[in-house]
Symmetry: C2
Subunit: 392 residues, 2 copies
């Protein structure tokens, strides 16, 4: 028996039920720790093709380009804007939470004229408001499909038509919705979308799944991208773009984060084994079950019925309940992470992840018990509601 | 005994002696696979402080800012330019290989006026040429300390003085030299430098160690950074900048690549345990030993004496020896990765990594045996030269 040397690094036990990262399955961690091989090794090329195929399935797209950008979710945003938005472009930007605000900031940094279409944090943006903003010529429309800051899902219906009328691109952030909330990029006519690996895919953070359709790729060919690292015309020399010729030679651009790609491949295999629609359904059930249980504890959902994002349940704190005195020891003593509110909702909401492995009865039961105890409440009725929700 | 489910992902056995990634020790892979925790967890904050301290030691700097940028080595280049170079800046750029060319491209994308100071691929740039270019006012000078494309180390002496005369910044790429070749950033007066984790640090790719001194930070405060992801004024709200107040609250920017930070922390612990100067000396010995052994096989070093980069030995192919017919089966049949030449050196050189775990007698002996066999040569004399080099 080999004696392994002790590690310098140690981490505490945590149940990750916050806004992400989500719980990473043991199987994905094992894939992560497979020996590093070279980024130009043909064996790695085969794995890259598998990852691209898995991303296409999960995004529901036939786009040739479906790759993990070498950075966390926001690197996907950066790649999207650097490649597809040019200085002076008029870009409609839906803002109803932190991630819409972030995109508005990013667009301005790239010289775009930003047309903000807003809704209250915690509500979806009315489609009519987005369509109305699309009357004058514009280059692109951006919306956040899953607002991680509020737990709201933004409908995409009707947006592609409004964009096509001006030959504009429809751009989507699906960081928290991908693989956890119904989403069909091709059916919705989305031209480009980015996501993250540390939400419903249950892989470690560090990669940004990103897909770009043909109409959008024309813009990449058009212009000069103000970033070497994110320039798709270079990146795609390495990541295969031609679905009919997946074995063509790959040209070195930057060194891919090899081990993170292993983990993503394994996580995508788990999505495939479960089936995407079954996974969406599980997240919907898990969301409703937990919503019912928390309502018993007077923690009511921020998003109104019909606007909820299944993978992220944001709840209002009851009067008289302070955020940090509960959330702090829940993490450090009970070992359960949930997230606080952001922006105008700081101190007034908790954001609870219902993502992948976290969207199951056992972790939710543990959370309900611990939260009830911290709130000085009996957990019985809430646990009954949780069970009833899962039985429904 | 728990039965673990089989993985979908599998990778072949490889000895990584190319230009990177380098061999990742089992201990670092185990740290990588520790359970993911949250990026705002206080336990992760403690680890971030340890990583920052380890990077300062390895960079030999007192800079407050020493962080891993969330992307591979070239993301460090992107972060450097996005934060420190403004449109219209006159920037002196040393070009004597692929990575100088890459920086010249990147600078132009950011609107800089690029003053190229060149040398032949395979040679260092004469200090006098760089100093001569610094006579007229300029904003920054960039050089590649370790040219991964040629195996050449660029001297830094005298460059800081030339920069100070114009209040210009000295910027350095030390991707392949960090922790493997003598480098003292503060002594050399370097204002900012980036590296990668997959070279002499022996961690997986995906993070770019990056340090920025006070003079350079003033520029970040000056202007608007054309990138949300890399904006140091935002990133530093999350990564502590104040060495005297390491426990202050961390503000969410983007989700750090948690598990890669674990691996980097473990890799930095291994550097600390060995001692930085001892590690440099080991790389110097390993380089000379392998150089001597390969010379016996008529594989002679590209870089002249005194200009060699210890972690990367580039050798010329003898007349009549073709690159791919040797290097291909060396990888796929012998399981040993070395790298081909780039740019004007493609097909004419091999680049052999002497990095971290790879800078040891055992992997080098395996390489020499396999290469000799592929070249149809008896390995005896080359192995003797290798042993003699290590005994010296």
């Amino acid at each position: 028996m080999t004696t392994l040397s002790p590690l310098t690094v140690s981490v505490p036990d945590r149940l990750l039920l916050g806004s992400g990262p989500s719980p990473v399955p043991e199987r994905v961690l094992r894939a992560l720790a497979l020996p590093t091989i070279g980024h130009l090794d043909p064996a790695f090329g085969t794995l890259m093709d598998e990852v691209a195929a898995g991303l296409r399935t999960t995004f529901r797209t036939q786009n040739a380009v479906a790759i993990p950008v070498s950075g966390t979710g926001s690197a996907g945003m950066e790649a999207m804007v650097a490649n597809l938005v040019r200085p002076g472009d008029r870009v409609i930007c839906g803002v109803h939470g932190l991630f819409g605000e972030r995109m508005a900031d990013e667009l301005a940094r790239h010289g775009a004229t930003v047309v903000r279409v807003e809704a209250e944090w915690g509500r979806a943006i009315p489609t009519a408001a987005l369509v109305a903003a699309a009357e004058d010529p514009f280059a692109a429309m951006f919306v956040v499909h899953g607002e991680t800051s509020t737990g709201v899902a933004q409908p995409l219906d009707g947006l592609a038509e409004a964009c096509r009328a001006h030959d504009a691109l429809l751009l989507v952030d699906c960081v928290t919705s991908l693989a956890g909330h119904p989403l069909d990029l091709d059916a919705a006519g989305v031209d480009a979308a980015f996501s993250g690996t540390q939400k419903c895919l249950n892989a470690p953070p560090g990669l940004a799944p990103f897909t770009v359709g043909e109409r959008a790729l024309e813009r990449v060919r058009d212009g000069r991208v103000p970033s070497w690292y994110f320039d798709l015309s270079l990146v795609l020399g390495y990541w295969t773009t031609d679905v009919d010729a997946p074995t063509r030679a790959r040209a070195y651009h930057h060194t891919a984060p090899i081990n993170l790609v292993y983990a993503l491949a394994e996580a995508l295999a788990m999505v495939r084994e479960e089936g995407l629609e079954a996974r969406w359904a599980r997240h919907a059930t898990a969301h409703e079950a937990l919503r019912g249980a928390l309502a018993v504890l007077d923690l009511h959902r921020l998003a109104p019925d019909g606007e909820q994002l299944h993978p992220l349940l944001a709840v209002r704190l009851p009067d008289g309940v302070d955020d940090v005195p509960i959330r702090g020891p829940l993490l450090t003593e009970d070992g359960i992470e949930i997230s606080g509110g952001l922006g105008p909702l700081a101190g007034r909401t908790w954001r609870i992840g219902v993502m992948g492995e976290g969207a199951n009865p056992e972790p939710q039961e543990r959370l309900v018990r611990a939260l009830a105890a911290r709130l000085g409440r009996d957990p019985g009725e809430a646990l009954d509601a949780l069970s009833a929700g899962w039985a429904a």
